[in-house]
Amino acid sequence: MRKQYRLWQLMLLVCWCWATNLQAQDEVVLTPVTKTYAITNVNINQAPGKKIEMGTILIKDGVIKAVGKNITIPADAWVIKADSMQAYAGFIDGFSRTGVTKPKEEGRERQKDPGNPPPDKAGITPQNDVRAFINPADKAIEEWRNAGFTIAHVAPYGGMLPGQSALILLGGSGTDNMVLQSNAALYSELTPAERMYPNTIIGVMAKFRELYLQASITKNYEAVYASNRNGLERPQPDRVLQAFYPVIDKKQAVAFKAEKVLDVQRVINLQKDLGFNVTLVDVKEGWDVINKIKAANAKVFLSLDLPEKKKEEKKEDKKDDKKESKSDKPKTATEFEKEALDKRKEEFTNKYFGQASAFQKAGIAFAFSTNNAKAKDIPATLLNVIAAGLTEDQALAALTTTPAQLLGISDRVGTLEVGKMANIVISDKSYFNEKAKVRYVFVDGVLYKQEVKEEKKAENTGKKADASGRWSYTAETPQGANTGIISIKNDGGKMTGTLTSSMANRDYELQDIVLDGNKLSFFYTADFGGNSLKVEFNVALDATSFEGTMTAGRFGSFPVKGNKEP
């Protein structure tokens, strides 16, 4: 236990070193040439169900100036010929940590009195503002933007009351510039504190109730005191309790994370007891409690972090083959059991994907949240959600108009109408086409062009790649980037190599170097003060670059990219 903790500390230290290393590289960012754009010959999905074929969108100073046919294009406009492409209002993510930095874990000193820890140690920091944690350079911002998202509702990391959430634009030069609306909600989770009160869900719920009621009482007394201070005891200012005041006044909602069906019910019970306005985010299992959600008048963001869906058709075919070939052999009880269990699993996978459709049928306004999902999976996930019963228009509404409305920003975003903010996503085919690619994204009138990659790496089979040579690499870790050089020699099929990392002043011997087609894997054992850590690489490479993952023992996997040095 203790050993692991020390290793963790070391790891953090190392990561911190990587991060500073990266910042040392200077970059010149060129500002846009113009703030006027004309997107021509494009199919405009103005709002769900409202289409203009082959029209033009004119943007100026971050605002949509004109939408439609026969629009005169000003001379200062940068013309984007989006011939037969599809334009949509930029997507809005109902809840995630996109662009939010996870605070460094502090040394976990033991609490002397674990029953009464200081609030901040126990995850009670409702006064924190997510703006303090936003990193405009976060890679995730670009990834989600590339998937079509232009606005995200983000909250700080933490325990039961991490702090104030905000609506941010997924693009912009700095934090303030990115923030569309601060103090969007008081964000809360049923997350217990470690090794101190509240250490369980029941502790969290009791603590939440107590804080809320304490806040109500102190708020009242502060009002009494403010009206005439003479002769009265001075109220004790308390930032934790003060953070609840807008919630009590119903000027602010509590955004509560509620993944599982039991979480949803627990949050709704708190809401019922205390009466605050609630927004449920990250909902994964809400289909059976729709009535409760309705009765609580809760706003809902359904999670797009869904289980992996097996490719059914192929499997079915195989099964049939087997059946025919083995028809003489009756199935054993164990086989029947396995089949029944697999069927139930599939049934539930389908429920996860069918959730949006269930909410749609129940007439509840819902949008999506992307917390914990991967940006590159989103189009496929949405296709599965649509296959499970949602229409494309309904899916589009859940990405645009409905979240705008639920988050109270539909005066500015959610549709491609004149006067709205220029948050636009343009894809080469319908976004809901399997092969669609997002080509252009506008955030607040700023154009982000997406390179369309040739899919050389994944499909580059047949030809055996060559791993030998010097490669520079960069691995993305939550704490920053780790860079280094990998050298591989090939002596008649037997490969040897070394790795020099920015995190250590020594070379590491590479072990188990295997090249299978274009898939390269190896590992090395790093050591920190007596503790060893196995670091594995699994990458796909071509002649000049590679891409894949680096797995550092129990600390998890991180994306890694590399280029061949000349």
Binding site: A333, T334, L341, R344
Partner: protein
Amino acid sequence: MKKSLNTIAIAIALLLTLSYTFAQSPKGKYGTFALTNATVYTVTKGILTNGTVIIRNGKIEAVGTNITIPSGAEVIDCKGQFIYPGMIDSGTRLGLVEVSSDPRTTDFNEVGDIVPQMKALTAVNPNSALIPVTRVSGVTTVIASPEGSMFPGTAALINLHGYTPDQMYAGFEGVVLNFPNTGRRGFWDRRTDDEIKKATDKAMEKLNDVWEKATQYHKLDSATNGKGVGYYPELQALLPVLRGKQTLLIEANASKDITAALKWIKEKKIKRVVLTGVLEGWRVADEIAKAGVPVIAGPVQAVPSREYDRYDRAYANPGLLRKAGVIVALQTGQAENVRNLPYHAAYAAAYGMGQEEALKAVTIVPAEIFGLADKLGSIEVGKSATLFICDGDPFETKTNIKQVFIDGWQIPMVSRQTQLYDEFLQRDPGVNKVKQ
């Protein structure tokens, strides 16, 4: 420091109270007894009504309906009562633990993963307060088994009467092997599937390594008549198993592990072997039957091992195994509540095994499995006089066990639990110390 002092103090208190309790206990009695007018459940030779059983020199001298009572025999009239062979619990920790949460009183889990030379019989505490509590319920004979690691030691069959382990020893010892387990060990076991697989693979590797070494040791030992090999207690303890002279008790519960264990047994050509636990045996009952390996199943009163399993799987398991043709004995796996063995058997009976088979599973079947069919497990002439008299079906809770005999000794029908009852049913003084 303070903590260990506390523990010592507790241990001393425990010992003091133990000897105190026993100083007051009545003693067993050896002699010639004639149990008359009884309904005798012989188990192997049917049911005798109005039967007589003669006990002399520790053995059953006669059984029948027309028996002459030897002169000088103490006659116990069993009119309206029943005689059964003593029940055998084929898997317990009885005698090896007094208070399970206190490590100072637990002696079933030695340090080390390969310690087959650790002998349970050495650590059996003949004066454990748990023993009288158990035997007055008609359970007379139990396997006391070490547990914990891969080869935690050698289990022993003991009779629940005697003042030294040798007086208690019932004639069977078996080496325990916990087969690499793919199941989780409790709600707190949060290992990932991958971690479990890795641990199991590693354990399997280790087991095979041990076996290979033992095989080599056996070859060298045989070739040199025991002179060419040095002191090697772990492997020496495994020799009798390799040579088919001692039974290997293999604990395996998950169906996958049972299958793997059967394969391993076949591969290693192990002659005397029993599977224990086998909670998921029902899933692979045919395989076990085909392999011809007997099992010691239980505990029967247990929850299913998987969330999606039918609620009564553990109850039904012995019956399903039996139906498939497996030889089934039962165990409670307990220490202080081995006395509940008849109820585990009743559950097995009600959920498919039937009363007759369930009775065999706690009498003659384990006797056969342990190679003691000539000594234990039924009411037959020449067998050990280990039996009990009761006023009804011993698997029924309402039934009272009237008298227990172990190896011909008439056992005092008291335990600390009955003594506390006698003292406290009408406590004196009651609420008021000063009598009015």
